[in-house]
């Protein structure tokens, strides 16, 4: 019903002949109460690369991601994953929520969180077998958390918790990885470990989308940029979309001129 609405509202119909891109969003509007957090956004994620979603605080970055995943219900809009509706493609998606969105006091161990990534295969009552266990351990190993498998999750540092979340996503063996602020409040070693894992995913042909807030690392880490401030500001390769002009128009006065100069110099 809402999808037709979006089409009526002048979203170009040609666009909704959706391609096979890992994630295609058309005319997405999400609102909390009266004020839209994301307004009529189109997004096409390029396959096999790393895309950063950037924008000022409160620009709707996380909201965009959550609505794309069906965690929030949009007012209007259409989301396809590899050309098909989201519901049919759940197995191909892995999501890493913001670390602060869960209560780490929850009585569970590191290994149990990693095993949650296998729950689609396990189903309601499937037994956890040795192969499941070894795959979860393997994923913990990839993020350097193998030795912590039996710890309660509340006993970990912030960076370690973030790595456990990443291990859970790895266990899902998805094609499209969506991460919400994975570098927020983590130590340098964790940031390095996470980016190494994400790059290895990219090399394996997976697609990675990251809500990111640190403009200084965008050129180092990412291939594509999606710049948002409630509406889409720019989308494209880092060279195309991450420029002094686009940043100025997304961040307005909130970004110091010196910072923009620095970024444009970094971009060459």
């Amino acid at each position: 019903m809402m999808l037709e609405l979006a089409a009526d509202q002048g979203v170009s119909i040609a666009d909704s002949n959706l391609d096979d891109s890992p994630l295609a969003i058309r005319g997405l509007t999400v609102s909390y109460g009266q004020k839209p957090a994301v307004f009529s956004v189109d997004m096409t994620v390029q396959p096999g690369g790393m895309t950063a979603i950037i924008g000022p605080n409160g620009a709707g970055k996380s909201t965009l991601l959550k609505a794309a995943l069906g965690i929030l219900s949009p007012l209007s809009g259409q989301v396809t994953v590899y050309g098909k509706p989201l519901e049919q493609q759940r197995a191909r998606i892995a999501y890493v929520p913001q670390r602060a969105s869960v209560d780490w006091d929850f009585p569970t161990r590191v290994i149990d969180v990693a095993l949650m990534g296998l729950s689609r295969q396990l189903g309601l009552l499937g037994r956890i077998r040795v192969r499941h266990m070894s795959r979860a351990m393997d994923c913990l190993n990839r993020v350097g958390m193998r030795d912590f498998a039996d710890r309660q999750i509340g006993q970990l540092s912030g960076g370690q918790q973030q790595r456990v979340f990443l291990a859970r996503a790895l266990a899902q063996e998805a094609d499209l990885y969506l991460l919400d602020e994975p570098f927020a409040g983590v130590d340098a070693a964790t940031e390095k470990a996470i980016i190494a894992v994400l790059k290895s995913l990219k090399e394996a042909g997976k697609t990675v989308v990251v809500v990111h807030h640190d403009l200084a690392t965008v050129t180092d880490y990412f291939d594509h940029v999606f710049l948002i401030n409630t509406r889409k500001v720019a989308e494209g390769t880092v060279a195309e979309a991450f420029t002094a002009e686009t940043l100025q128009s997304a961040y307005g006065g909130r970004l110091a001129t010196a910072q923009i100069d620095q970024i444009s110099r970094a971009l060459g």
């Binding site: 006091d105 569970t108 006993q155």
Partner: protein, 309 residues
Amino acid sequence: MNGEEFVPLSLTPLLIGIFAAVACALPGNFLVLRKQALIGDAISHVVLPGIVVAFLLTGAISTWPMMLGAAGAAIVAVVMIEAIRRLGQIEPGAAMGVVFTTMFAGGVLLLEQTDTSTVHLDVEHALYGNLESLIWLDAVGWSSLLELTALAGLPPELPRIALTLVGVILFIWLFWRPLKISTFDEGFARTIGIRTGALGMALVIVAAISAVAAFDAVGSIIVIAMFICPPAAARMMTNRLETQITWSVIFASVSAISGYVLAGYGPLWVGGADAVSAAGMIATMSGLILACAALWGPCRTRAGAPQAT
């Protein structure tokens, strides 16, 4: 105490007490972790208008219509709480507060405005239930457990709460994995296709059914205490949800047994003459267990505080 005395007088109230305590403690584990623990309190308030309406419709105090009325009111309340929470975008505690005070007030109003003052719908009964009166007079000893004619005389509360307990266990066993994942991380749960809204609703409805069945047998004091005390105490004994559930069942059973025995004999031991309310004593015991767990439980330090390793 020999079987001839124990079976008719104490076996059924003890079993009803244990089953009611465990049936509330099991869903309580999830409610406490979801910070919805007060839903038990809310439910025991909101059932009042349901019971009054059932009485007005049937004109008699009979158990089944009242159970249905109470269950209906509980479900209406649950749906209203969810609706207010989602539409109003406010936290669950506030939504519960609005709904349960309104419905309780509505129940009192109905009670006052209609001709129910002659019947026995009093506060004491609602709070403490009547556990001691649920005796099994047809029994003559342990052998009665095998006699059909004697079994037919069991207080109806016993099979009812036993059936409820079986239902609760089945629900938690079947939906264990989605319940655990969505309680820990609702956003992630939705991305793997768990219908978290429906599951959360189902959990609260299961809790409501336990509350109403237990309320009928043992009063609302036990309901409120058992939703919170055994799970909260169990949380401080372990850092694994599986073990926490086991501890909560142990704590609920120990509260029921020790509370029942102490209520019956405790006053005599200290020189008093009369027994005290079993329901009140069971709730007190669960509170004592919680206090002990808070003082000495091995896992009572909260994460979030810096940990020494």
